[in-house]
Symmetry: C2
Subunit: 337 residues, 2 copies
């Protein structure tokens, strides 16, 4: 049996068994970051993510500075999703010996720049040789109030699903990189490609959501909305009903859909790398939270509701017709990147 | 200019500038691990290391379990060198989709087994696809008493150099993998190859050295004794005089030297991956520390002395003749692995 046969989720399942419960482990695997109790005032969040050339990125699409910024952002997003405040990062870079030093300087400028913008100090790392392409690994520490950590688990029947920002732009941008479209207006192309190359982690929004005290579950949307909904439902043992016409799509995403004849909702549901936050809220507190988030400059959108155990995952169109929501997001070991 | 032109140390120099001094950073780059102050009773150590297939290891030489154990051990060694107690690790694995799942299971068994033996809890990780070979990254957290962290910096003229264990066996083992020697006795071959495949991090010894209060500087010997001495001398702004015939070599290392006509001291000086500790001690306290370490089951060997600033690095033979000690250890971006 090969990794391609079990897939990323199958592999993660197998490896979870290896993750011993140890002293001070509040939460080991299964969330965006591990949650550790070192006895201090706050809990410690610990996460790691790796980007591989020609799997997660192509140097043909963006600058090395963009790439560094994104490598940092995907980790910041993990801490953001748990309501934490990122604090320290280490970076491990594997690169071919023939890599230009100027490219590595730019990569680190991107890593350090994004780190600094979010209050993170780069405290070290490792640089090694790799015969084939770049591999960038960032490990990140965050802090979170003891009663304020957001987990994937916690959604209960009747809670409402919300997302920050809008979805699908990163996947639409990747589509444009792979399928240049001469009729696409430059400002649409720029925005979509930028969404793919330079995602912004929702660190501030995640902190506000955690502080609200009314969010029952959260996760960042790294592999498409459908898979993220499935994660939260599996973790909470619940179902979901998403409303297709409530899923927020930017004007550029809609525009590219019209230009290409593609359904833009597919980019939101099954694309990836939006790095917005999906979360669930107790119904009585939803309107208040919506107002607070909008007032703080982080508008959130209601996109569905949590169903009971065994009620499945459903996507409902504007006419009220439902079809099963099949989580078909990105799989790390699928045959296509 | 390519990475091969500046080399690993040149690259590290360039990147150090990127490592901002931030709140709570007691020590950023330039040591085996970053040292962070989160306000708790102890300081936090944070380190990351990556092993790349066909650069740092060959699957032809050892089992996947050995490989996992070694990937964990090299990180444990970084925390050991600073006198810390390793506590939590995350692992990021990049692997081809056609990798056998059984191999990954074995790799994680090695990672988890070594982690558990040293009191470390594996709390999470990331698994991604790589088109070419395995890349294993471990990020590790450790704790250390506020006044008990060992740094590379701190050696002063007159201090004595010591090492734990014996040196050169890992490089001799690698030599045997690459140059099979029919006349080498199986027990010699086994011990040397095992030293290469399964190094033991000196976590207990490092803790004892830190607790002694008389160690002025320390580092693990990952890239040969000569380079490690050079690091400690650069960090402290001092020189060194090593006594060639004091460098501890195991009987197996000496035996392979005789069999192959090679100088076994070269494996100790310029080989790598012994993961013993090099440290300096105030001269008045050296004899006492030597006795204490021997009594605790961690014998240490005096191998030289710290010279003053500008006095250079010297290797002295038994007859008292000195020659310059040129740090020629492993460089990650050299043209040969």
């Amino acid at each position: 049996m090969r990794l391609a046969d079990v897939g990323e989720s199958g592999l993660v399942e197998r490896l979870l068994g290896r993750l011993a419960r140890g002293p001070g482990v509040v939460r080991g695997a299964g969330d965006d970051a591990a949650v550790l109790d070192l006895g201090g005032k706050e809990l410690l969040l610990f996460t790691v993510d790796t980007l591989v050339e020609e799997v997660h990125f192509s140097r043909a699409y963006g600058s090395m500075r963009d790439l560094g910024a994104k490598a940092m952002a995907v980790n910041l997003s993990d801490v953001a999703a748990m309501g934490g405040r990122p604090v320290y990062a280490v970076v491990s870079l594997a690169a071919p010996a023939e890599t230009a030093v100027a490219d590595i300087d730019d990569l680190y400028a991107g890593l350090a720049g994004t780190a600094a913008r979010y209050g993170v100090t780069l405290v070290g790392g490792d640089t090694v040789r790799h015969p084939h392409g770049l591999v960038i690994t960032v490990a990140l520490l965050g802090l979170a109030g003891r009663e304020r950590v957001l987990y994937r688990k916690g959604a209960v029947s009747g809670d409402l699903f919300y997302v920050t920002g809008s979805l699908g732009a990163s996947a639409a941008g990747l589509f444009l990189f792979q399928n240049p479209h001469p009729a696409c207006p430059p400002e649409v192309e720029d925005r979509l490609k930028k969404a793919h190359l330079s995602p912004e982690p929702r660190v501030v929004a995640g902190g506000l959501l955690a502080a609200s005290g009314v969010v029952s579950a959260a996760e960042d949307i790294s592999d498409g909305l459908a898979l993220t909904v499935a994660h939260i439902c599996t973790a909470g043992g619940v179902g979901a009903r998403l409303l297709a016409d409530r899923v927020p799509l930017s004007p550029e995403v809609r525009r590219l859909g019209i230009l290409t004849g593609k359904d833009p909702l597919e980019w939101a549901l099954f694309g990836g790398e939006d790095y917005e936050l999906l979360f669930t809220v107790r119904p009585g507190a939803a309107a208040g939270l919506e107002r607070e988030m909008a007032a703080a400059g982080w508008p959130v959108t209601w996109i569905g509701e949590v169903l009971g155990p065994g009620e499945g995952l459903w996507l409902e169109d504007a006419a009220g017709a439902g079809r099963p929501l099949v989580p078909g997001g990105y799989d790390a070991f699928g045959t296509e990147p």
